[in-house]
Subunit: 253 residues, 2 copies
DNA sequence: GCCCTGAGTTGACAAATGTCAAGGTGAGCC
DNA sequence: GGCTCACCTTGACATTTGTCAACTCAGGGC
């Protein structure tokens, strides 16, 4: 289920400044480094399973994972993606609330749960950083909810692409500018957006036909017209006519 | 924008055991009580506005609020509901990420931000409780995402009702058992579920015609057949035929 | 090379949902 | 009482999207 442990150096850690340890000074860092290990998962491997206890607290150093749920009949429903700095098991979580599955090769920075929780209680830096990260993830989940509200399939897909662009920009240098790497299949994009995989395929190709993007291969797109993509997302930088205060109508069926 | 300040007693606080202060001992409680105040908002009032700084850190003591976003043209999109114990401004949040609007009368327990943040740094109980609450809210937002994935309108509505039942059960005694109070209009339910208000109305009445529930008035329902409601929610306690591992198909158009 | 598999694409059709429009109901107010 | 207004309901119709099915394409193993 998981690869060997690779101890690594915090000084060269790509998420040193944004991870749980971001506020720790060198002394504190040395303390938690003692209970630290690095783990690697290949695409497709389950990092944490719903209902199982997680003996580790960890953050994603590199790669993309999905928050998912497996139904009794074996089918899978996705509810979001996790990127560098996102936490996988958190202190105080008795057991995982859902599955976390690697969608690309994922590197995790892990701490032994029990020891980590003890450190949290004595290092205010760590506790408050933990709270900040948890609030960030809450806000990310909410932002994702806004991405899905009352939109057409095309708008959802455009929004999703913009979301990926934003995420990939944050962890800079991953790809040539203007290129999006899709970490998931058409079917999984459908699961993330509540659409059928055929609908995803059609609208992705539709955006291509409209000259907004170019499909390089199944997992890579080139954005040709970012402004048009934004207009397609339905996230109204808005018509100029101020209408009465009302709830957003879904753009169509 | 907000009512007068009403100092109240923590000993009789309905969220004493689940709020930010849950882990605080009497001494710590006394400390933070000094910077505490209670505020009340009427239904419809904006508690926090997107982009504005929030000078207070607070938790909902009673009532229901919505996480929402206002588009440039004045229309509103909802992305979730907030109940007792949920936080409204959190420590470390420079400014609100979205609007928070009261949907019923809401009572908040508020702390002056700057002083509260200082307390967080020196009280590990407070910091770790804050992190727990933030993680809870992250998980609630994710659970809500699962509620929306690849479902028909009827399934979404049934799931939403079950979600409300669960929330109302937690803050016990609010209503006779089997009665659901809807904190929002049909239009707002539509915004929460990504549906047209007419679709919400039709399926709500459809559930009524099927004997699953009874519409008492626009804001109150009686659940007549909880098991059938669960079956209608699409959250598969599942057909017994184990199928191949695949992504959940949307149940229909 | 060949076959097999998984993923993606495309088309035809059906069904669910959105849109438009008309009408109903209840609360508050004069 | 009888307004008005907001909210809800209901119907008819248009459109999007899902479903089913066939086909293509690329990769891996033998």
């Amino acid at each position: 289920m998981m690869d060997a442990t690779h101890p690594t150096d915090c000084a060269s850690c790509p998420i040193r400044d944004i991870a749980l340890c971001a506020k720790c000074d060198d002394g504190e860092l040395a303390k938690i480094a003692r209970i630290k290990s690095t783990r690697r998962f290949e695409a497709g491997q389950t990092i944490a399973a719903q209902g199982e206890g997680i003996p580790l607290v960890s953050s994603i150093v590199d790669g993309v994972a999905a928050v998912s749920r497996t139904l009794e009949d074996g089918r899978t429903q996705l509810a979001g993606l996790l990127f560098a700095k996102d936490m996988v098991g958190a202190p105080g979580e008795g057991q995982a609330a859902y599955d976390i599955v690697a969608k690309t090769p994922v590197t995790l920075c892990c701490f032994e749960r029990h020891a980590f929780e003890a450190h949290v209680e004595e290092m205010p830096h760590l506790a408050s950083r933990l709270a900040e990260l948890a609030l960030d993830e809450r806000d990310a989940a909410r932002a994702y909810l806004f991405l899905l509200g009352r939109k057409t399939a095309r708008e959802k897909i455009a929004s999703f692409l913009l979301f990926l662009i934003e995420r990939q920009r944050q962890m800079a240098g991953s790809e040539a500018p203007g290129i999006i790497r899709l970490p998931v299949s058409r079917d999984e994009i459908g699961s993330l957006l509540g659409l059928a995989l055929e609908t995803v395929s059609r609208h992705l190709n539709g955006l291509g036909r409209d000259g907004i993007l170019q499909i390089l291969d199944h997992r890579r797109l080139r954005i040709l017209d970012r402004a048009a993509l934004e207009r397609s997302s339905g996230d109204a930088p808005a018509p100029m006519t101020p209408r009465e205060l009302q709830v957003i109508p879904r753009k169509s069926a």
